[in-house]
C-alpha cells in the first residue's frame, strides 16, 4: 500500500507459543542493526503463495526499540479465511531462510499524556500490547490489560503476561464461561483514560459502541484491525476523462497517475505514494478502490480519489480534474 523501505532479514529462530501460534525471531540479513521502533508498530512481511506474492502485517512484540532483532507472533489461519500467508510462515519457512520485510510503521501508538491506558485484546490481537505494556511499565503509567481468548491452551502469551504484569491483567476465557463486557471495562474509568482495542472486528465494534454509549469522545478510542491488506495483484481498468476526451487503460503495473501522464495528461503530484493529496481527482462514474493514507471518509464519499495509489473496483472509472 505505501512504499515503505524494504529489507531482507534472516529467520534466526522459530518457537511454538501455542499449538497454532509461532514466534519468529528475525535478524538483519546483512548483519548489523534493524531500524528502531515504537510500541504498537508492525512490519509487513512479503509472503509467497503458489502464484502470487503479497504482504501481511504483523505487530512487533518484545521490547520497543530493540534493534538487534524483531519478533512477531503468527497464528495459523484456517484455509477458508485467508490466502495462506500464515500457513506459508508456519509450514514452509525455516530457520536460516531469508524473508523480505518493510520498515516498521505505527498506526496504533500510545497516547502520550493519557491519565490511564486500558488495553483490550481479543485472541491474537494481544500481540501489539506486549510491546505497549513494556513501554507503559518503563514509564510507570497507569494501565490495565483485558485479554479475551478461547481457552488456556490457545491463549498466546497469557502466562507470560500474568507473571510479568500480574495485578494489571485480567483474562476472560470463553471456554470457562467468562466473557469480556466492554461496558463493564469502560465504566468508571477516570478522566483522561484512553482505550486501545485489537482483535476481531466484532470486538472492536463492541468496544467502540460501548464507549459511545457511555459518552466517551471517539478520540480516546484507538483500534487496530488485523484485516487483510489490500490486494497487490492489481487488475487493469479503463480511466476516462470526458473533459479532455481522454480514455486510457491503466495496466497492472502502473497507477492512474502514471497512465494519465503516459497519455499526455500531466496531473500535479508530489509524494506519489498516497500521502500528500496533491494528485487528488474527482470520481464522476465507477467505483473507486481507495488505497491512500490521506482522504477522510467524508472526502471519499464526496468522490475524491488519490490518483497515485488508488484504483478501481470494476472495469472503468470516469474522472474529472479537481477545481
Amino acid at each position: 500500500m505505501t512504499t515503505r523501505a524494504l529489507q531482507k532479514v534472516r529467520v534466526a529462530q522459530i518457537e511454538g507459543v501455542t499449538p497454532s501460534v509461532k514466534r519468529f525471531t528475525l535478524e538483519s540479513a546483512q548483519g548489523g542493526r534493524l531500524p528502531s521502533w515504537s510500541s504498537g508498530s508492525h512490519i509487513g512481511v512479503t509472503l509467497a503463495g503458489t502464484e502470487l506474492s503479497w504482504r501481511n502485517s504483523y505487530s512487533l512484540i518484545g521490547t520497543p526499540g530493540e534493534t538487534r532483532f524483531y519478533q512477531i507472533a503468527v497464528r495459523k489461519e484456517e484455509v477458508s479465511r485467508s490466502k495462506g500467508g500464515s500457513r506459508f510462515l508456519h509450514e514452509q519457512v525455516q530457520v536460516g531462510d531469508t524473508l523480505e520485510i518493510s520498515a516498521p510503521g505505527n498506526y496504533f501508538p500510545l497516547a502520550r499524556h493519557a491519565a490511564k491506558h486500558v488495553l483490550i485484546a481479543g485472541g491474537i490481537g494481544v500481540t501489539p500490547f506486549l510491546a505497549h505494556l513494556s513501554a507503559l511499565r518503563r514509564s510507570g503509567a497507569n494501565c490495565e490489560l483485558h485479554y479475551a481468548f478461547r481457552d488456556r491452551a490457545e491463549g498466546a502469551f497469557w502466562e507470560q503476561l500474568c507473571s510479568e504484569y500480574g495485578s494489571h491483567t485480567r483474562f476472560y476465557v470463553s471456554e470457562e464461561g467468562s466473557r469480556l463486557s466492554p461496558a463493564a471495562v469502560l465504566a468508571h474509568q477516570p478522566l483522561g483514560t484512553h482505550v486501545y482495542v485489537c482483535g476481531p472486528h466484532s470486538l472492536i465494534s463492541a468496544v467502540s459502541g460501548a464507549a459511545a454509549e457511555l459518552g466517551w469522545p471517539s478520540s480516546h478510542v484507538h483500534f487496530e484491525e488485523f484485516a487483510p491488506p489490500p490486494v497487490s495483484d492489481s487488475l487493469p481498468f479503463l480511466v476516462h476523462l470526458p473533459e479532455l476526451s481522454v480514455e486510457v487503460k491503466v495496466g497492472i503495473r502502473e497507477t492512474i497517475l502514471e497512465a494519465l501522464e503516459r497519455a499526455g495528461v500531466p496531473i500535479a503530484s508530489s509524494c506519489r505514494v498516497g500521502q500528500c493529496g496533491t494528485c487528488e481527482m474527482h470520481v464522476v462514474g465507477g467505483e473507486a478502490d481507495h488505497r491512500d493514507r490521506c482522504l477522510s471518509e467524508g472526502e471519499m464519499h464526496e468522490g475524491k480519489i488519490i490518483a497515485c495509489v488508488s484504483r478501481c473496483r470494476g472495469q472503468k472509472l470516469t474522472l474529472a480534474l479537481p477545481g
Binding site: R4, S36, W37, A103, R112, S219, S270, C276, G277
Partner: protein, 334 residues
C-alpha cells in the same frame, strides 16, 4: 530575560564558486505560489546540497561558532525542550550521527558497541564516548549536543492527539520566528501567520502528510526569503539588531547587501518516539553571486514581479523588492 546586545558582524558568508553552483535555488518557474512542494530527501546526485540528509558545507565552522556565540548569550530562548521529548532527542542524535558518519567519513566516525558509542568529529577536534540513552554520559542534552555539531536548526515534533506539537527545538538561525514563543504549539497554531495557505487546505494536507511519515523515508521542501547582510540570526528576539538594515538597501548596493535566504526543510520520522524531525538548513547567497547565473537572475526577477502582495508582506520584502528588481535589471544589461 535580558535584551540582546549588538553583535559583531559575521565574517562574510561569501560563497565559493562551488558553493554557488550547488546552491538550492528554489524557483523552477517564473511565478510563485505556496504548494506542498515535497520531494524525497537525501537522494541528490553526488556533490549536491541534497545528496545527504544533513548537508555539511564550507560554512561549517562559521555556523558552528555563530551558534556557539548565540547559545552563550541567549540559551534560554534558543534551546528549549519539554520533558517528554527525551526519547525523541535520542532518536535525533542517532539519525544525525549515523547519517554524518556515513556521508562524511573523512570528518566523522561513529563506532557502536551495543549502547556504548564512540564519536569523533574531526572538524572541531571532538572525541566523545557515551552510553546511548543515558543523558548523564553527555555534556549536554542529546539534541543540543549533536545539534551544535550540525548545520541547521532542529525542531522535534511530538505526534499525539491527532496533531503535531513543536515540543523541542534548537533554533539559532530562524527566519523571523520565535522558538520561545512557539514552543508547545500545534502545527496549525505555529503556522498561523502564513497568508493564503489556510483556505487552500494546504496545511491540513501537509499535516496529514507529516503524520503519515514512514521510518527511513525522509522528505524535503524548500522555503525562501531575503536577508540583508550576511546574517544568520534573523530572530524576532534580535530584530532591534537587524530590522533597520532593510531601509538602507538601494538599487546600487542591493547586489552586495541583499541575500537570497533558502531553507531546505527535512521532515523525517523519529522511530522510537514516533515523533517527527523538522530540520531547517539555511543557505545564503548574495545577489551579485546569484546573478552570475543569468537564468537565476531572470527567474528571480519574474518571481518578484508577480509575487502576491500578501506574500510580499509576510516575507518582509516590501522595502527591498523594488531595489532588487532594479539591481537585477541593471545587472542583466551589463
Amino acid at each position: 530575560m535580558t535584551v540582546l546586545l549588538e553583535s559583531k558582524p559575521l565574517p562574510s558568508l561569501k560563497n565559493s564558486p562551488e558553493a554557488i553552483h550547488r546552491f538550492p535555488f528554489p524557483f523552477r518557474t517564473d511565478s510563485y505560489g505556496y504548494s506542498v512542494n515535497l520531494v524525497p530527501s537525501g537522494q541528490g546526485a553526488a556533490g549536491t546540497y541534497d545528496e545527504h540528509l544533513f548537508d555539511i558545507d564550507e560554512h561549517y565552522l562559521t555556523e558552528f561558532r555563530e551558534r556557539r556565540r548565540i547559545l552563550c548569550e541567549d540559551h534560554g530562548r534558543r534551546y528549549l525542550t519539554l520533558p517528554h521529548m527525551m526519547e525523541a532527542q535520542w532518536d535525533f542524535l542517532e539519525m544525525g550521527m549515523t547519517r554524518l558518519a556515513a556521508g562524511y567519513p573523512e570528518h566523522f566516525t561513529l563506532k557502536q558497541d551495543g549502547n556504548f558509542w564512540h564519536w569523533e568529529n574531526r572538524l572541531i577536534d571532538l572525541v566523545q564516548n557515551f552510553t546511548f540513552g543515558d543523558p548523564a554520559t553527555l555534556p549536554q542534552e542529546p539534541l543540543e549536543w549533536i545539534g551544535r555539531q550540525m548545520q541547521g536548526d532542529f525542531c522535534l515534533l511530538d505526534q499525539r492527539e491527532g496533531d503535531l506539537y513543536l515540543d523541542a527545538g534548537l533554533v539559532t538561525f530562524p527566519a523571523d520566528w520565535s522558538l520561545s514563543f512557539d514552543l508547545g504549539m500545534t502545527f496549525e497554531e505555529w503556522h498561523g501567520p502564513v497568508p493564503l495557505a489556510h483556505p487552500a487546505g494546504v496545511f491540513t494536507r501537509a499535516k496529514k502528510f507529516l503524520m503519515n511519515l514512514e521510518i527511513d523515508q525522509p522528505w524535503q521542501r524548500l522555503n525562501w526569503t531575503f536577508t540583508i547582510g550576511p546574517r544568520l540570526d534573523t530572530s524576532p528576539e534580535a530584530y532591534h539588531l537587524w530590522g533597520r538594515d532593510k531601509a538602507g538597501v538601494t538599487a546600487d548596493n542591493a547586489g552586495e547587501l541583499v541575500h537570497l535566504r533558502v531553507e531546505v526543510q527535512v521532515l523525517a520520522r523519529l522511530p522510537r518516539s514516533h515523533g517527527v524531525l523538522f530540520s531547517i538548513r539555511t543557505y545564503l547567497i548574495r545577489l551579485d553571486e546569484l546573478a552570475a547565473n543569468p537564468d537565476w537572475a531572470r527567474r528571480l526577477s519574474c518571481v518578484l514581479a508577480t509575487l502576491p502582495p500578501e506574500i510580499v508582506d509576510y516575507k518582509g520584502l516590501a522595502e527591498t523588492r523594488e531595489a532588487v528588481i532594479d539591481w537585477l535589471k541593471q545587472s542583466q544589461l551589463d
